[in-house]
Symmetry: C2
Subunit: 530 residues, 2 copies
């Protein structure tokens, strides 16, 4: 589709979505679909709108796990399918607000200090990406508590965070987030943190709260150890859509972020995206654009380019939300489909000096999503040259890049928000959650399970089990063994390579065994217990 | 290619690269190429090795800009094609070391404090991504100076960094990095920082050093204002390969990072990758794997997964190095080729709880690069369960994911390093720089220019020029104007949409004009000077 400036301006206006309450704009005029093509998708959208309505009414939208999908109720509890669920949501928000207030006032404080000064959030996946995104977007240098994250099982990474907090551990509030307690990274992080507290003669329980499934083994542990509080993680809220549950609200409220405004922004966007038509529903317009870009098969990557530093982590948040939801092997009818949409990006105009060179001229394997923020800063700006501010440049770079991409036949979406505040962030979260829900219907997949994550856990457990057997065999063996002999004795002759990796790692950490021989020739290495 | 465990273990050993001096391993056994296919690429590699040798000898490897490409000389000055260039490199390293020593000792100190406590680095692209990667990888909580970055022209982002430094601005050393002074983001950042210093009654010049082209207008400015020092940015070093020039060495040395070890690691990897054969040259093995994965056309994305928190920013660093180098419209013969390789990733195992679901099961549009670090941490680890540490889990997750991807027909490369230290980081930088050089030869493109970045600058300048004309017309016009009338009066009837974006941005910031009317109908809006 080629058009002159007048036709483009007309297309811009025809497709422009504006939400007055949120001051929110969505522009999909630079996705080159035709009206005829949109019409062909109408039946799929009719079904998607019905699916979304059923999901919001409490249908089992995650058939593999036989679960309801309730994250939309979190910001509009009146929609919850039972009075009990509604009360549960309302109570949790109250509990979060009350707890944060008591921490801020010092009513809840650590044993050896008048106030908590820092938060250490231990969690991974949905229990990290949302809180990290929100902390980066809305956190302030002057926040009542500064937040830090342990989101991995990397010993050196854990040490670095703990070194930073070394002098303030006694006034650090630890939040451990895990639905069952069964996520190894989080369990390990908690144990490492507990050890650090013990090293300082402190008791983690007196500094910690849990966000976990009610009835989980982890809830029992926290209660039996006398942790400061326990907040619920509901089984009808998935990790990647949990930012507006206690998972996201608790750290936000503790940082002094207006969680009522976040919820209100999300509720308003939910309402706007309940409209059962494509044009006029921004989530549907996004889903339409994604479908168009990738032919409904994820053939193009989604590059997310917010022109605002505080939105740097939005793409990482969206990576999980979109790729974990849509990246599925089979559709709901069991057909092998290998679905998904790859998402990456950092921020503009910074990325213009990194990889936008390739976006403009190189492989046309993507579509871009620009995020524009109208308000430059709190307060006024100096002029960096007559009549121009730093913000004018930022704005000019966004316009220039969008235009250049289009001229080079690279499509883009532009989301425009008035400013980055709690309401806008809530609205953006809701917008993308709902676009994912609709798009998943269009391509007929279950967006609410993650079988590959479970499989990853099992694969690691198998390696750890193998490690235990390797160490046992070596301890029992009197002499150094070659890798094939070791594998045979372990009863895993097919797993020489895995065993080699295990012993190489143990040797590097001076644990249990030593490896000798020419390292460029693994088959000649000898392994001995140490 | 399907194979049993024994054949796979054989393939692993056949293709394993090990560098004893660096303790570095490269495993490309899980890229499913055949030996026959490798043989077909031999002629291309023969040429690539020749091109690389010529480049290192000082050939004009960047024909569009008629420049030599000299970043490999930085870590082995004896290779520089003239005594003058060699001396220049040696002198710069000396200057950096001397300056850092004087800052650390307090010999160089700010007017109102005995020591500098912080660094504020102002730069974008190559002047930010390398220093950020290195600071994250090697920076310590106990470093003599802590580093902060301004890498954009976002007013709110600038305000946030300056708010953090508010109380320490008087003891902050500002490094402004720009080859010519002509990069608007950096210029704007410097002016905003200068303003912040003035607000505190301080003079930026007494707190600042420049890293810039010798003879540039920016060098003249810094000298005339009496800045603390000026370090050279050579025209034979491109931004994305400047980490081992003053751009990267100065901030690293100031943070107490061992820059001699970084240079030595790079030099050792350079030597290892000068071997003119595929097997036995790790950069060639990477280039081979990339070519195989994407059919020499970037058909697959490169997902970079370091299983180590401190390498989080390696993928962002590689995004620039690879995508800006390879993402080109035309080849060296002028054919339109739309080349490149898309790069993204964060870290494992964290990403296993984000998008690895899609990698395992979804769109097979990528190949993975795992980065394994053998040493878990300084010191010993607690057991998180009998016989297992946090680091064993990290290691198990990497093995499990690599294996699961392969079983699902997703290829991967694994880079293994003994630990994350200055030497390893230098070696990794050199490895990827050289793989890019070789791959660029394979696909016959100029990896050393970035026409799209220049074009982006021009597009933004045109928008800013239009803004000035719009404001002028409005100030001269007595009455509110519609967008079409405004565009006509500005003499840019084809640019209504750009003008609309400009006035919407100015209005949101209460500058020069006001916008009135129904915002969902841009054509009905009226614009008036304010």
């Amino acid at each position: 589709m080629s058009m002159d400036a007048t036709a483009l301006w007309q297309r811009y206006q025809d497709w422009l979505y504006y939400h007055e309450g949120l001051g929110f704009y969505l522009d999909i005029s630079r996705m080159r679909f035709s009206d005829d093509w949109v019409n062909t998708l109408q039946p799929k959208f009719d079904k998607a709108f019905q699916d979304l309505a059923a999901l919001e009414a409490g249908a089992i939208a995650n058939p593999d796990e036989n679960r309801m999908v309730g994250h939309y109720w979190l910001r509009d509890p009146d929609l919850a399918p039972s009075a009990e669920l509604k009360q549960d949501i309302v109570n949790t928000i109250d509990q979060v607000q009350r707890f944060a207030k008591q921490v801020h006032s010092g009513e809840i404080h650590p044993p050896n200090a008048a106030q908590f000064t820092d938060i250490l959030s231990v969690g991974i996946g949905g229990s990290a990406l949302g809180p990290q995104f929100v902390a980066e977007a809305l956190g302030s240098v002057h926040a009542p508590l500064q937040i830090h994250f342990l989101d991995n099982t990397d010993p050196a990474g854990i040490d670095k965070v703990l070194a930073k907090l070394q002098d303030r551990l006694a006034s650090t509030l630890v939040i451990v987030m895990t639905k069952s307690g069964g996520t190894p990274e989080t369990r390990n992080g908690m144990l490492e943190v507990k050890h650090a507290y013990e090293q300082q003669g402190l008791n983690l329980a007196q500094h910690a709260v849990a966000v976990t499934g009610i009835g989980s083994s982890f809830e029992k542990l926290a209660k039996s150890e006398g942790w400061l509080d326990v907040f619920p993680m509901h089984d009808w809220v998935g990790g990647r859509t949990s930012e507006l549950s206690a998972v996201g609200l608790l750290p936000a409220a503790l940082q002094g972020i207006d969680i009522e405004a976040m919820l209100a922004g999300a509720k308003e966007m939910d309402a706007a995206t309940r409209v059962p038509q494509i044009k006029g529903n921004p989530a549907a317009m996004l889903a339409l654009s994604w479908y168009y870009a990738g032919n409904g098969k994820g053939e193009k990557d989604m590059v997310v380019l917010p022109y605002k530093d505080s939105l740097l982590l939005f793409s990482r948040y969206l990576q999980q939300l979109i790729m974990e939801s849509l990246g599925k092997e089979t559709d709901l009818d069991g057909n092998v489909v290998h679905q998904g949409i790859a998402v990456y990006g950092n921020k503009g105009s910074t990325d213009q000096h990194a990889y936008v060179q390739q976006l403009r001229e190189g492989v046309p394997n993507f579509f871009a999503t620009f995020i524009e923020v109208l308000e430059d800063r709190d307060g006024s700006s100096i002029e960096v040259e007559p009549g121009a501010t730093s913000g004018d440049y930022l704005s000019g770079f966004l316009q220039g890049t969008r235009q250049a991409l289009f001229e080079n036949h690279r499509d883009s979406i532009t989301v425009t928000v008035p400013r980055v505040d709690a309401r806008t962030v809530g609205a953006l979260i809701a917008l993308y959650e709902r676009a994912v829900t609709l798009y998943a219907s269009l391509i007929n997949i279950n967006a609410y399970h993650q079988p590959g994550v479970e499989a990853g856990k099992k694969a690691a457990a198998a390696i750890l089990d193998l490690q235990k057997r390797v160490v046992k065999v070596l301890q029992e063996s009197g002499t150094p063994l070659s890798l094939p002999d070791l594998a045979a004795k372990v009863g895993a002759p097919d797993q020489i390579e895995a065993i080699y990796k295990i012993v190489r790692h143990l040797d590097a950490n001076h644990r249990s065994l030593t490896l000798s021989g020419d390292r460029s020739q693994p088959s000649g290495l000898k392994v001995a217990a140490s």
